[in-house]
Structures are given as C-alpha cells and as structure tokens.
Symmetry: C2
Subunit: 199 residues, 2 copies
C-alpha cells in the first residue's frame, strides 16, 4: 500500500507552499518585489532560505506559480465547451476564471505588482506563453475529435490563441489604468470584440 501517505505528504507540501506564497505576496505588495529578499520571506515563515527554494524554484515562481492552477482550469474549461463552438468564443471563455467575484480585491494589487515590476512582468508573459502552448494542443485535439483536424502546418490555432491572449494582456492594461473599477471581464470583452476570426 503505497498510495496512502503520498496523498498526505502532498497535502502538507501544498499547505506549506501556500503559506510561503501568502507571506511572500504580502511582503511584495507592502514593500515591493525587488526590495523583498528571500531571506525576508524565509524569516517571515520561520524557515531557512534553502527551504524556501525547496518549495519554489525561483523567486518569480512564488508569484506566477499561481497561474498553474488557472492554467489547469482553463484547459478543463476548454474540454467541456461544445466542440462545435467557434474557437474565438471558446477562447474568450477561458478567461472567465480570472474574473471570479470575491477575488477581484485580492487580484488587483497582485496585478499591479506584476505589471509594474519588470522581472515579474517578463516571467508573467512567459508563463502565458506556456499556457498558450497547452491551449493550442487542446484546440488541435478538439478539432480532430470533431472530425475537422487542422493541417499540421496550419497556423490558425496558434495565431488565434496568441491573439486572444494578446487581447487579454491589453485588457489587463486598460483595466488597471482605469483604476480596476468595472470587472476585468468587460475589458476582455471589449478587447476581443475588435477582432473576428476569418472564416
């Protein structure tokens, strides 16, 4: 019987990871990302610097690692969408999870730190790029399952996905610039409405 403890270990691991993440984020928001050292974070949770790095590969991952969860949710969303739905609509639906009520007040300072810290912004864009790869994969599979597979060299799924994520980033910018008042989803709607996929 092996699979008995692994579950527990995994759970405690997640718990510690979560604790570090929350403490770190509080410090980042309070005094800035660059001004916060890993030692500060370690001290805040009562661990050694070394152990912090056992839970997060890099300092940036403490922040952008939160997107891994979001990525999984996006892929789930994509798989449960009607296979015949227009791709552009499905892509728009992926972003719903970034916009759930109850998270907005928390999400806003995070967004701000990420967009204002060059190192974090770069890491964020890269993570979005990774997510896009997975989304493109899922889109190809879906099309194949629906009997209308894309040709291997057809740039359509990749281009549409890239454009959609580009619109997302554009929407986040204007959302933050206007003080994060109206829901982010509205900004995404407006951004994505400026384009249509060609038949």
């Amino acid at each position: 019987m092996k699979p008995k403890q692994p579950a527990l270990r995994e759970r405690t691991r997640r718990a510690v990871q979560r604790e570090i993440g929350e403490a770190a984020l509080a410090l980042f928001v309070e005094r800035g990302y660059e001004a916060t050292t890993i030692d500060d974070i370690a001290a805040a949770v009562g661990m050694s610097q070394r152990s912090v790095f056992r839970y997060f590969a890099t300092k940036e991952e403490i922040v952008v690692g939160k997107l891994d969860l979001a990525a999984d949710q996006m892929l789930d969303t994509l798989r449960t969408r009607p296979p015949g739905e227009p791709v552009w609509v499905s892509l728009r639906r992926l972003f719903d999870i970034l916009d759930e009520p109850g998270q907005q007040h928390i999400a806003e300072p995070i967004h701000r730190v990420v967009l204002e810290t060059p190192a974090l912004h770069a890491a964020y864009l890269q993570k979005l790029q990774q997510i896009q790869d997975a989304v493109v994969d899922a889109l190809r599979q879906r099309a194949a399952a629906a009997g209308r597979p894309y040709a291997v060299d057809d740039p359509t799924p990749r281009a549409l996905t890239a454009a959609a994520f580009g619109c997302l980033v554009a929407a986040q910018h204007s959302w933050l610039a206007s003080g994060a008042t109206s829901p982010l989803g509205d900004a995404v709607d407006r951004a994505m409405a400026t384009l249509t996929p060609r038949a």
Copy 2:
C-alpha cells in the same frame, strides 16, 4: 562648440558595444546562453567584467537590445504609412524589417537561442511588450492626425497591436519548427490572415 567630440565618443561607444555584442552572440550560439558567463565575454573582447556592464545593463540586454534598433525602424515605418491605411495592414508592414534578406541566415540561430532559453524568451516577450506601447502611441497619434481619434478608453489600438504581435510570435514558432525554410514573412502573413479587425 561642444557637439564636436560627443559625436565621436558616441560612435566609439557604439563600436565597442557592437563588438561586445557580436562576441557574446557567437559564444551564446556556440555553447549556449546559460553556459556563457559574463567573464567569458569580457575575456573574449579583452575587457574587465565591470566594463561589459558599462555597455549593457544586463546579460539579457546583450541579446534583446538589438531590438531597440528594430523598434525605431518600426515606428518610422508606421509614420510613413498612408494615414488612411487599415490598421491591420500597417501593423503587418511593421514586421517587414525582421525579414530582410541577407539577415535570415544570421537571424535563425539567434531566434533559436532566444526561443529555447527561458530567461531570454521572457526578456524577449517583455521587449515586444515595450515596443507595443510605443506602437499604440503612434497609432493613436496617427488616428488623431487623420481626424478620427480613438476615445481614451477605446481598447481598439491596444488590442489590435497585441493581437498582431501575438501573431508574430506564433509565426516565429511555426517558422522555426518547420526548419526556417520559407521566409518568415510568409508565416507572418498566414498567421495574420486568420483574423480581421471588426469594422
């Protein structure tokens, strides 16, 4: 008469910067970005590590700094396009300079290193983001000059620009994936043809 030597100084500065850049790039391509240390680069050009950092703020800048020139060219291009031209077409034309013949053979290994090295890829995406900001600005100015300014909260210019650059990145991916045979411009054409701006 002050502006006599400054011009010379600036020229020699550019020359040294260029020399460092070329030496570094050769090393990056040969043995990889991560495996190349700043000391290696300094030794290759016969300088101290400190001096290398006087010409480039960061290691990544040695590579992605080359895009600053491209960015200027893009903005020039944008300003010389007919003001009435559809935005999507103008945006497509920005990317022509990345595709000039005679640079392709050189550009390919660079592209490869950038896309395959996480740190560089992140820096690259961030630089593209900066360029987008400038492009959006130019688009707004152009529309205003043509008597059809965008409303301040109109996401159109930002969204279209982000989508176009997303298509560019998508095109680079498939271009590299297919061995960089046909010109990059063709890949960009195909990617951007999958979308149309909504009237």
